[in-house]
């Protein structure tokens, strides 16, 4: 077993984990933050995407122990504690950017990361290039592209931090 300590959604957490525990398992099973999903388990689908020290990462590709001291944000950590949705979450809701919802947390985390890197005015081409690592089997992607564009714009005017709770 390996001891690990990190910050998740602004809270200090510790765990005593089997060394082969992936970050996604640590988050889901140890912390019971089950909004981060496992689709492929082989780093193709993006359902498990979280932010580590401000960068998007597929949490099925790293071991929990590798993230000693890191600052992790999951889908549960981006809405305002008052319950007000993050503008990107709001945009996915309003633009019907989701169906079964399984890919949605990863899509939203990926979209916020995109805004952090590329700014608030995202054209169709950029959004598509950037979302290539996130697979959705349901929606046909069109509404996801609309949602990301709208969410990116809304983030400009909003007080919501691009990177929450850090």
């Amino acid at each position: 077993m390996a001891a690990v300590a990190m910050t998740v959604n602004g809270k200090a957490v510790t765990g005593d984990v089997d060394p082969r525990t992936l970050l996604v398992q640590f988050v889901r099973e140890h912390l019971r933050l089950t909004g981060t999903h496992v689709g492929c388990d082989t780093s193709q689908c993006g359902a498990c995407l979280v932010h580590v020290d401000g960068k998007a990462i597929k949490s099925c590709t790293v071991f929990a122990w590798q993230l000693e001291g890191a600052n992790v944000t999951t889908i549960e950590g981006i809405a305002d504690p008052s319950g007000k949705l993050h503008p990107m979450q709001e945009a996915f809701r309003d633009n019907h950017g989701l169906q079964c919802g399984y890919c949605t947390p990863g899509m939203i985390m990926s979209a916020i990361d995109m805004v952090n890197r590329k700014g608030n005015d995202l054209d169709d081409h950029t959004i598509r290039q950037e979302l290539d690592g996130n697979i959705c089997r349901c929606t046909g992607y069109h509404n996801i592209v609309k949602a990301v564009a709208a969410g990116a714009k809304a983030m400009k005017g909003s007080s919501a931090p691009a990177q929450a709770a850090e």
Binding site: E29, G35, T36, D41, T42, R93, G101, C138, G140, Y141
Partner: protein, 761 residues
């Protein structure tokens, strides 16, 4: 009258009710469920396609540190003496007994509290087999010496399967036949006869949430938490397997991370139920992406289609022979063979028709329903064939279709009169969007442009039942109890809009109770785009029942008719406090007449028809065979729109899925072994793969649908594949007759057309 929307709840693009939960990561999936004391099961699977089991050595696995227990069929037999299940045939054992029938068939299960341990130990199991000859091709299976099952075991409940009981030496699980008019005469008198054969390869659903089920024993029986599209079926089938009354089996289904027809009937449910009973602890089995390839696929198919055509382009006769590759277990294949099989001649008005449709066993992963229930395979053939005829007769493909399509009031091949099927409107809207009548700019050089159209249709499976309960609480708030599974299609929102419309409240104020067979009433299943029509009608009627009872209550407490006194006050007047309920209930089953056994004729084949049309523009690189779809138009007849944004998403999502099956997806096998069983090797469309698309519905109404609506989940799939193949032919003059359309296939066809064929790989 149905169409009048006084309250504006129906027809409104309300955001999905559960969008907030899904966007915040709080939506419930079985994937997330963990129960105290729960064991994880890892399945040990067959490595060969067909063979007798000589031995299964589980000793090393059982001795592995941390393993709780290893289970084989012998253990299962102690709790389920006759452990064979299936919706049409009772042919599938919970764990392999005596024989294995396909690579990946479950043979044993390791149970451990740590899923890693279970996985390690499963790798230590050793099974030995005496291999048997195997058959993989659906046409060869008709006559093959290799026979998959020693004896056929149809479920006793279906009269049309009775003749198959106990049959040996055959791989034919069902043969469906239709005879209409005099086909021999039509061919004898025809000016032209065309015959072509089309094939599709096996593909699969790959919902992002793989199959997952949990079972726990309770004081009174069993509770199964499962990512299933058919909770009522699971309850009935598990009760049958155990010899229990239905009410001892409770099946609960939260949201599904996609389904597409994969998560129907029994998948892991019988296995986790047996395991939980054996060890008396909760058991969870969650498959990996890879394991989905061993669980269920979409039928590979071969379709030989032959048409008699007059010189002016009227189809006078058609012969259809379809072979469906059902894999090792029948699943719902026999029903696809028949209930989709009868639309094989296409949406055309043809007086003389024969259909012979065969469901075949082979030594491959079982095949089942996948977004279209066999229809995309049929449309692929008849719409490719349609263009080939038009081209040969130098007719415009649109004009040829206009001349032949089934119109309102025509008799379809079953004899059923077409009603509320907007075939003509869909065809016209596709061609209008494509500017079909205008000249089309073709390029010179090595990249050629072309365009194509196609249209398909489907009959809703029948007869099926839905039951709904609407509960109005003493404060006037409404809750809907129904067993429709929201796997992403938006049924919660649509049903809430229907309740809200009837009760004159906001859809957002309606609460939906998810399927829980102890609580929510029977529903046949969430499949085949049946729910909005069947459950939608049950929900509408249940809400009307509640409304009528509220009116009774108002009368009883002396409130004058037409008064708009708040509902809460009615309850207070009667019960003197906030107390009581009004329960509205209804069940819905449409009328149906089974087809005659010999001829397939029936005056009432289906409660409603679905229509989907597509148009494609392509660029084909003649030097590489690479096809770029530059435009994809999708038009569906879905009746009236309960929620237009959700309809559009359903149409485009369906089209993108079929686009994957058209351009890139196929399960590759070698001697029965799947060689691309992973998300890395089997590529579903990513955001960069998809073409520019337009999706829309025609203005239509299903006269007996809830507020004029009908199903929408599959229509977007129907016509995508042949529209693209027809566009390729238009561009470069070659015909691709097998899905998927790979660059290699296109390039080979171009070289062959140029008289310079490539050697076989």
């Amino acid at each position: 009258m149905n169409k009048i929307m006084r309250h504006g709840q129906v027809g409104r693009s309300a955001p999905r009710l559960e969008a907030r939960e899904k966007a915040t990561g709080r939506a419930e999936y079985v994937h997330n469920l963990r129960l105290p004391g729960m064991l994880y099961g890892k399945i040990f699977r067959s490595t060969i396609p067909h063979g007798r089991i000589r031995s299964i050595d589980v000793s090393a696995a059982a001795a592995h540190p941390g393993v709780y227990r290893v289970i084989t069929a012998a253990d299962v037999a102690k709790v389920v003496p006759n452990p064979y299940y299936g919706p049409a045939f009772h042919d599938q054992p919970i764990l392999a007994i005596d024989k294995v029938h396909h690579v990946g068939e479950p043979v044993a299960v390791v149970l451990a509290t740590d899923p890693h341990v279970a996985e390690e130990a499963a790798a230590l199991i050793v099974a030995q087999y005496d291999e048997l000859p195997a058959v993989y091709d659906e046409v060869e299976a008709m006559t093959s010496k290799a026979v998959v099952h020693d004896v056929l075991k149809p479920a006793g409940t279906f009269p049309d399967l009775k003749h198959l009981q106990g049959k040996t030496d055959t791989n034919v699980a069902l043969d469906f036949h239709l005879r209409r008019g005099d086909v021999a005469k039509a061919f004898a008198e025809a000016d032209h006869v065309f015959e072509h054969t089309f094939r599709t390869k096996a593909v699969l659903h790959l919902p992002l949430e793989p199959f997952v089920s949990v079972a726990e024993t309770t004081g009174s029986g069993l509770t199964i938490h499962t990512a299933s599209q058919s909770p009522s079926f699971v309850r009935i089938e598990i009760a049958r397997l155990l010899g229990w009354p239905e009410n001892r089996v409770r099946v609960k289904v939260p949201y599904l991370g996609g389904g597409f027809g994969a998560k129907l009937y029994i998948k892991l449910e019988a296995l986790v139920a047996a395991l939980a009973l054996i060890v008396n602890r909760p058991v969870k089995i969650a498959l990996t992406m890879e394991e989905q390839f061993f669980t269920l696929t979409k039928h590979a198919s071969t379709f030989r289609i032959k048409s008699a055509v007059s010189k002016d382009g009227k189809i006078t006769g058609r012969e259809c022979e379809v072979w469906w590759n059902g894999g090792a277990y029948a699943d719902i294949g026999p029903r696809i063979t028949q209930k989709s099989g009868f639309t094989a001649p296409g949406p055309y008005d043809i007086d003389n028709v024969t259909i012979d449709s065969y469901s075949l066993y082979t030594n491959l992963t079982p095949a089942g329903a996948l977004r279209g229930f066999g229809i995309p395979q049929l449309v692929w053939a008849y719409e490719s064939h349609a263009d080939m005829i038009a081209r040969a007769l130098k007719l415009d493909p649109l004009a040829f279709r206009r001349k032949n399509i089934l119109r309102e009031g025509n008799a379809q091949a079953t004899g059923t009169i077409m009603r509320d099927a907007a075939i003509e409107a869909v065809l016209e809207q596709v061609s209008a969007r494509m500017d079909w009548e205008k000249p089309f700019a073709r390029s010179s050089g090595s990249v050629k442009r072309g365009r194509g159209i196609a249209i398909g249709f489907k009959a809703s499976i029948s007869p099926t039942t839905s039951v709904a309960i609407v509960n109005v609480a003493a404060d006037g708030s409404a809750t809907l109890y129904c067993s429709t599974v929201d796997m992403g299609q938006g049924s919660d929102t649509a049903n809430a809009q229907i309740v809200a419309e009837v009760l004159s409240i906001e859809a957002e104020a309606v609460r939906i109770v998810h399927p829980d067979t102890d609580v929510t009433p029977y529903d046949m299943a969430t499949l085949g785009s049946r729910s909005l029509y069947h459950m939608g009608n049950a929900v509408r009627l249940a809400a009307q029942d509640a409304k009528a009872k509220l009116a009774d209550l108002a009368r009883e407490v002396g409130v004058p008719e037409g008064s708009n006194i708040p509902i809460a006050e009615l309850f207070v007047k009667k019960y003197k406090m906030q107390a009581g309920n009004i329960i509205g209930t209804a069940s819905y089953i449409p009328s149906y007449v089974p087809p005659e056994a010999e001829t397939g004729q029936t005056p009432n084949a289906t409660p409603f028809w679905m229509v989907g049309g597509a148009g494609a523009e392509v660029e084909v690189d003649t030097e590489t065979g690479h096809v770029r779809v530059t435009r994809l138009v999708n038009v569906g007849d879905v009746g009236t729109l309960i929620n237009p944004r959700i309809v559009a998403t359903q149409l485009s999502g369906a089209a993108v899925m079929q686009y994957g099956f058209t351009m890139q997806e196929q399960i590759e096998t070698d001697g029965g072994q799947i060689t691309n069983a992973s998300f890395a090797d089997y590529k579903i469309p990513s955001i960069l793969d998809i073409p520019p698309m337009e999706s829309e519905a025609v203005d239509a109404e299903q006269h007996d649908g809830p507020f004029g609506a009908k199903g929408v989940g599959e229509s977007g799939t129907f016509a995508v594949s042949p529209a693209i193949a027809n566009a390729i032919d238009d561009a470069v003059g070659v015909r691709i007759s097998e899905l998927p359309i790979t660059p290699e296939a296109v390039y080979r066809a171009i070289r062959a057309r140029n008289g310079d064929p490539l050697e076989d790989a």
